[in-house]
């Protein structure tokens, strides 16, 4: 894999499940705090409707999918748009490693959810580092 300047982190933002909110929060932690110069995000909905500008963005930059449920909407929509899913993370995998942090509150994440998002964000940031370095 060749090196890139940036990666696009795309969470599923699943509105029906708390893991969707965790993935969304983790994405913001990465693009706002941990890797602001190396990572950005975009509206997954724009990919769903095939917005041309957004489709071109995902085709030109490696993407990292962050999914809240097994339906893997983020990963599938990246691939359906012709993008490269350079890494795919699932919130449930992070939760399995931190079962003491059972998140609640889809509308507003509780403290456990925010802590879980921090752990997930570290994993996303590591993926960003690998993708940008071309490894």
């Amino acid at each position: 894999m060749s090196a890139h300047d940036k990666a696009i982190v795309i969470p599923c933002s699943g509105i029906g499940k708390v893991f969707g909110s965790v993935g969304r929060e983790a994405t913001y932690i990465v693009v706002d705090e941990l890797r602001p110069k190396m990572a950005e995000t975009l509206c997954l909905s724009l990919l769903v409707v095939g917005d041309q500008e957004t489709v071109e963005r995902v085709r030109g930059v490696p993407c990292i999918a962050v999914d809240g449920c097994p339906k893997a909407c983020a990963q599938k929509n990246i691939e359906l748009a012709g993008g490269v899913s350079a890494a795919s993370l699932r919130v449930v995998d992070t939760y399995k490693a931190h079962r003491e942090l059972k998140p609640e509150g889809v509308t507003v994440l509780d403290e456990s959810g925010r802590k879980l998002a921090r752990f997930l964000a570290q994993e996303i940031a590591s993926a960003v580092d690998r993708v940008v370095a071309g490894r």
């Binding site: 795309i10 969470p11 599923c12 933002s13 699943g14 509105i15 029906g16 969707g20 969304r24 929060e25 994405t27 913001y28 706002d32 995000t41 975009l42 509206c43 997954l44 909905s45 724009l46 990919l47 769903v48 409707v49 917005d51 339906k71 893997a72 909407c73 983020a74 599938k76 929509n77 359906l80 889809v106 509308t107 507003v108």
Partner: protein, 171 residues
């Protein structure tokens, strides 16, 4: 006495990760689902229309649906109509909150004022839900209003409900 499932309105929100109005759309939708009209509403993740199967794509054909969009690109409306069915109503948060100061930081989380705006949007969604329920199940299709089936025989002059629907005028 068995209960027939209540008729519901579907709400599809854009995800809007890039803009504060997307977060307001999402939270307003959740407020309706959780607090304002929990018995009357259902939702689905917009990306599921593409990633899911026929069951997910039947959503807007099964429920009268409100699209809640953060910006004029109308992803929720267009995505729903392309993959599922016509929406009944559209709410565009950027237009609804036109003139209000929208903070860029609300993209990630809402402060007190942002949450109050989300609550206002939620109230608008809830009122549209009420209107759709009334129009869909009482005015447009008066013969298809769900009721609880009663075991007892109808009183004189009263028509019996059939298969979970009640005739016009049945109270």
């Amino acid at each position: 006495m068995p209960d027939i499932p209540r008729k519901k309105v579907g709400i599809v929100s854009c995800s809007g990760e890039e803009i504060p109005e997307g977060t307001i759309s999402r939270i307003a939708t959740r407020l309706v689902l959780e607090k304002l009209r929990p018995e009357d509403t259902v939702t689905i993740c917009l990306p599921l229309f593409l990633a899911g199967g026929q069951e997910e794509r039947a959503f807007a054909r099964f429920y009268p649906t409100i699209a809640v969009d953060g910006c004029p690109k109308l992803c929720a409306k267009h995505g729903t109509e392309r993959y599922s069915g016509q929406v009944t109503d559209v709410i565009v948060v950027s237009e609804l909150l036109n003139g209000q100061e929208i903070k860029p930081g609300w993209r990630r989380s809402l402060d007190g004022r942002g949450m109050r705006l989300a609550e206002q949007v939620a109230e608008v969604i809830a009122s549209r839900v009420d209107g759709i329920l009334k129009a869909t199940y009482e005015e447009v299709k008066p013969d298809l209003i769900p009721v609880t089936i009663q075991d007892k025989a109808p009183s004189p002059g009263q028509r019996r409900s059939i298969a979970g629907v009640r005739p016009r005028g049945y109270r």
